[in-house]
Amino acid sequence: MNHIALFMSCILSILLAGSACQKIVDISLPDHHQPQLFVEGILYVGEAPLLYLSRSASFFSDKVTPQEVFVRNATVILTVNGMNTIMEMDSTFDKFRCRWVPFYTADMIIEKDQTYQLLIEADGQTLTGETSTALKPVTLSDVEYTPEFFDVFGGHDGVIIRFHDNPGEGDYYRFQMDRWIDTSRYHAHALDGLINTCVEEDELFFVTDIGRSIFSDYAIDGAFFELYLEVSFEYEEGDTATIYMQTLDENAAAFYSDMDKQLESILNPFVEPAFLHSTVQGGLGVFGSAIRSSAVQFIYPQDNP
């Protein structure tokens, strides 16, 4: 419907001599937002656990970088089969955004078909959650490039991924593409225009592109999926990428679906606002799990259009 709304705006604008306009306005918010703990912990099978713990900022605050909102010195405990592991603070440098990203991690590997419990104590609050890694990865049948496709959000370029859904209803999937890029590969959407001051020209750095949509096999169990997927970074002919489909547990799927609904409502003033619903107890956020499909190496056959 975005296009219809946009089209109507165009019609009305032309009709009214190109007069529709917009301006920045001040909004007085009710001044009672109390910072809340926000946890984001997705356990990837076969990898060390990584958990982001932050505090929410008031809406018009510009202090929202991962460093500024990170909750330090929290007690974060991951439990599996009765064994407790205390997660420690660590960080990595995001060379695309030029900023440090702190997180909690532990010296352990997430195993398949296990149940993990999470306990966080910080700011006098206790957050708990539980997730199972009983997830089935899929095997990608085929990955193809598409220079142009259209969906309800407009025209895009990207990739087509084909695979068979695992038997048994209740599978959730999302797209992942890993790449090494330099600063000439701009972001294709919201972060276009971001000024990068931390890497040299031609210096390659690693980015992970995670898809916005969560695909479900509800009512189409076992179907052959053919998904047209928009990519987040520009490319040139010969650029390489590694492509996966993530299989998500129900917690992760629900939370990232909420986030996608919210993105849609943020972008489209004609959609009811979407509140985020937590999948952890005692605070806001998600504690879930994921497993990646087999990797497919992909080479872009042309420059982005």
């Binding site: 419907m1 009709l15 529709a20 306009c21 909004i27 259209f150 309800v152 919210q262």
Partner: protein, 771 residues
């Protein structure tokens, strides 16, 4: 309210009817009855007043121009007949058991010969009638007030009345006393018009040239109306001039119209035919890039014929069709939107005698829309519509000058069809599209019986007491309800009265609130076991006072309305995603209260009104806003409208409208969180919402002005009236909010609120003619 066996309800109802009939059958009375019509064109005058000063009583014509007055026997009786915009008349009647008096009123300002005696009394119905919450829209003023693109529009004027909130800027949607837009019953010649919009709400489907009468009822609902909670907008088409052939046309910036009317058999049968079409498709073409192909256009057509079979019978047949069609094509994208209403009414008026009038109607209405959207890998279609067949019969019985009894019944059979699908890769899809005739239909029936007596208890006190018994039946649910309707008037002085009313209303069909952009994405859903009928109870109290021989009308009404079983979408939903509606909905309640001040000047060189509403509307839904109370989206606390038209001389007149409303409520997040595993297409910050509708948009205000230049001209030896209408919408180009959205600067992380405004100053000119 629990279900009640229908026969149990019917039994006391029939007994009451018999009692009423028996009460006055032997009283010694004489009666006067007949119709009141326009002397120039024979149109029935609805709501004209017949006063009998000697008996300190009176009556008004019904919806079909009929009146009847029974009084104790007399020798000579003087009646004063008045109607706004017409010269009052005084008639002297000599005694007879039954006297038929058809009256023809002369429009003010015409040079027809005066009939009998004129009087200085003008319409005082607002004070004298028992009913409250009723507003007649002065059509003359509608044509004079400034309008967007010069298109006079009755729906825009309704938004200027007390208790009525406008929807989005520039659109014809309206909200009455805290109700949703679907809680307004919009009827054209008794046929429901489900979507009264053209141009996605910028204009209404009602061609002012074809309209005879417009009445808005927002409280104290008469028993013959039901099925909606908040208002009745009752529009009657003109009947057609039964004396001479007349034409009326207009050429505007985006559309033109032509109305022709005349006698088929002089003073016995007449017709009216009115058509309007836009030429937007032609105008837009030069402005659009070549790669865009579009042909947006709309049209509407009104037609009506009537025939007097004799003194006591009259037949009417009316037809309306309005349609909007949009095709839009750009490389890889194709949209086709088509929506429209068709209505037809067959009506038979019969006068059984001096005291009983009957109207029998057969009504057909059909609302259809379809949207087809194709973008290479995605195709979506929505086809929906609602078709009604209605039979109704209504009686007006005038047994005594102290009583006016109304009773009748109606039954409507609804057929609702809707189907939507959205699919990826239509080329690989093997399921064929379903032909329209194979789309599953939902059928349901609404019926009602009603009875009301408007009783004059004393010179000062009148009481209107009635009951409506609606009945609903579908495959999945059956509901029977009782709707008491009570009104009381205390005539404190000749020109002052106090009134109170209580009404209970039910609504069995729901418009699921979709896009706020007035995109015609209307999904009507019938009540089911899960989606219960909406119910409202409203109490209102008002003081009515007229000044200077009724030239100034004043009223102050206060009301409280409680609404149950209200319907909203769950969070994050938009309609395009599914047509399986029930699981997307959430249910709650709403309540509204307020005060409405209305001061109107009806006569003289300067006419117009001042309307001010102070109101508050809240809602509570278990699944929204964490179960807490939140303001209704169109809860606009202050609402002021000032309109005026000034006839400067024979040639020039000027009009102006000023509107001020508090900002509508909308939802703004209070906090932000930073996510690392979310979609990489976005900047990674998400919103925390704590309250729904927690912030107000900036206030809305604008000033519109217009000037009309009238002149008589001649063409081929024929004299005709012409007028140029110059108007400026939003004179000081106020950037009123259409919607507000948020954008975050990716380098500074600073969110900004951006307001989109749609309608700045818009000049327009149109040319009208009459012959």
């Amino acid at each position: 309210m629990s279900n009640i066996p229908f026969y149990r309800i019917l039994r006391p109802f029939l007994m009451l009817t018999l009692i009423f009939s028996a009460c006055y059958c032997q009283a010694q009375q004489s009666s006067i009855y007949g119709t009141i019509r326009d002397a120039a064109n024979g149109e029935s005058l609805i709501g004209a007043t017949i006063a009998v000063p000697a008996h300190q009583t009176g009556v008004t014509t019904n919806h079909y121009g009929f009146y009847s007055l029974s009084l104790p026997q007399w020798d000579t009786l003087v009646m004063v007949i008045s109607y706004l915009g017409y010269e009052p008349q005084v008639k002297k009647i000599y005694s007879a058991e039954k006297t038929l008096v058809d009256i023809h009123l002369i429009p003010s300002g015409t040079d027809l010969e005066l009939v009998e005696v004129t009087a200085d009394k003008v319409d005082d119905r607002n004070v004298t009638q028992t009913q409250m919450g009723v507003l007649d829209v002065p059509l003359k003023l509608v044509k004079e007030l400034p309008a967007i693109l010069g298109e006079a529009d009755v729906m825009k004027v309704i938004q200027l009345l007390p208790g009525v909130q406008s929807g989005n800027e520039g659109t014809t949607g309206f909200h009455v006393r805290g109700g949703n837009a679907d809680q307004n019953l919009v009827q054209l010649d008794e046929a429901t018009v489900y979507n009264p919009n053209h141009l996605f709400g910028l204009l209404s489907t009602f061609n002012t040239a074809a309209i005879n009468n417009v009445t808005l009822i927002k409280g104290g609902f008469p028993v013959q109306y039901g099925g909606r909670l908040s208002s009745i907008l009752d529009i009657s088409m003109k009947e057609g001039n039964d004396r001479q052939f007349k034409g009326d046309g207009g050429i505007g910036l985006i559309s033109s119209r032509l109305t022709l009317e005349g006698p088929i058999i002089k003073e016995k049968a007449s017709y009216i035919l009115s058509a309007r079409r836009t030429y937007l498709d032609v105008i837009l073409k030069p402005f659009l890039p070549r790669k865009i192909n579009t042909n947006y256009h709309f049209y509407d057509l009104n037609a009506k014929v009537n025939y007097r079979l004799g003194q006591n019978d009259r037949l009417f047949a009316s037809f309306f069709k309005g349609s909007d069609l949009l095709n839009y094509e750009q490389a890889g994208i194709f949209y086709k939107i088509n929506f429209g209403n068709t209505t037809g009414t067959l009506r038979w008026n019969h006068i059984f005698g001096d005291k009983l009038f009957a109207n029998t109607s057969l009504i057909y209405n059909d609302y259809d829309y379809s949207i087809e959207a194709r973008q290479n890998s995605v195709q979506s279609n929505v086809i929906s519509g609602i078709r009604d067949l209605t039979a109704k019969m209504e009686f007006n019985y005038y047994p005594h000058y102290r009583h006016q009894v109304k009773f009748g019944g109606m039954v409507t059979h609804h057929t609702l069809r809707s189907e939507g699908n959205a699919r990826f890769n239509p080329g690989t899809q093997t399921t064929p599209e379903r032909p329209i005739q194979d789309i599953p239909k939902k059928r349901f029936t609404e019926a009602a019986l009603y009875l009301d007596d408007d009783i004059r208890l004393s010179q000062q006190v009148s009481l209107s007491g009635g009951v409506r018994l609606p009945f609903y039946s579908s495959d999945s649910a059956r509901y029977t309800r009782i709707e008491p309707r009570l009104g009381i008037k205390w005539q404190m002085a000749d020109r002052t009265s106090v009134k109170a009313a209580y009404t209970l209303m039910n609504q069995f069909i729901h418009l699921i609130p979709g896009s706020a952009a007035s995109i015609p994405y209307d999904i009507w859903a019938p009540s089911s076991k899960r989606t219960l009928p909406q119910t409202s109870q409203q109490v209102s109290l008002g003081v009515f006072h007229n000044l200077k021989d009724n030239n100034y009308e004043m009223s102050l009404e206060i009301y409280y309305k409680d609404m149950e079983n209200q319907v909203l979408f769950k969070e994050g939903n938009q309609l395009a995603q599914s047509l399986d509606i029930d699981p997307l909905l959430t249910y709650g309640k709403g309540w509204s209260y307020g005060a409405e001040l209305f001061i109107q000047k009806n006569t003289g060189k300067l006419t117009g009104w001042v309307s001010y509403t102070l109101s508050r509307t809240d809602q509570r839904f278990g699944e929204l806003n964490f179960g807490q109370t939140f303001p209704y989206r169109y809860d606009k606390r202050h609402n002021l409208s000032v309109t005026g038209s000034y006839a400067f001389n024979q040639k020039w007149s000027f009009a102006s409208t000023f509107v001020f409303t508090s900002g509508a409520a909308f939802t703004v997040p209070t906090g932000r969180i930073s996510a690392q595993e979310g979609a990489s297409l976005f900047e990674g910050n998400y919103f925390i919402y704590e309250e729904r509708n927690n912030v107000r948009m900036p206030a809305y205000h604008r000033l519109d002005v217009s000037a009309i230049y009238k002149k008589q001209r001649s063409l081929f030896g024929q004299v005709y009236d012409s007028e140029w209408v110059f108007s400026l919408y939003n004179l000081y180009s106020r950037q009123n909010p259409y919607f507000i959205y948020f954008q975050v600067d990716v380098n500074t992380d600073q969110p900004q609120a951006k307001q989109v405004s749609l309608l700045p100053i818009i000049p327009s000119v149109s040319y009208n003619f009459k012959f």
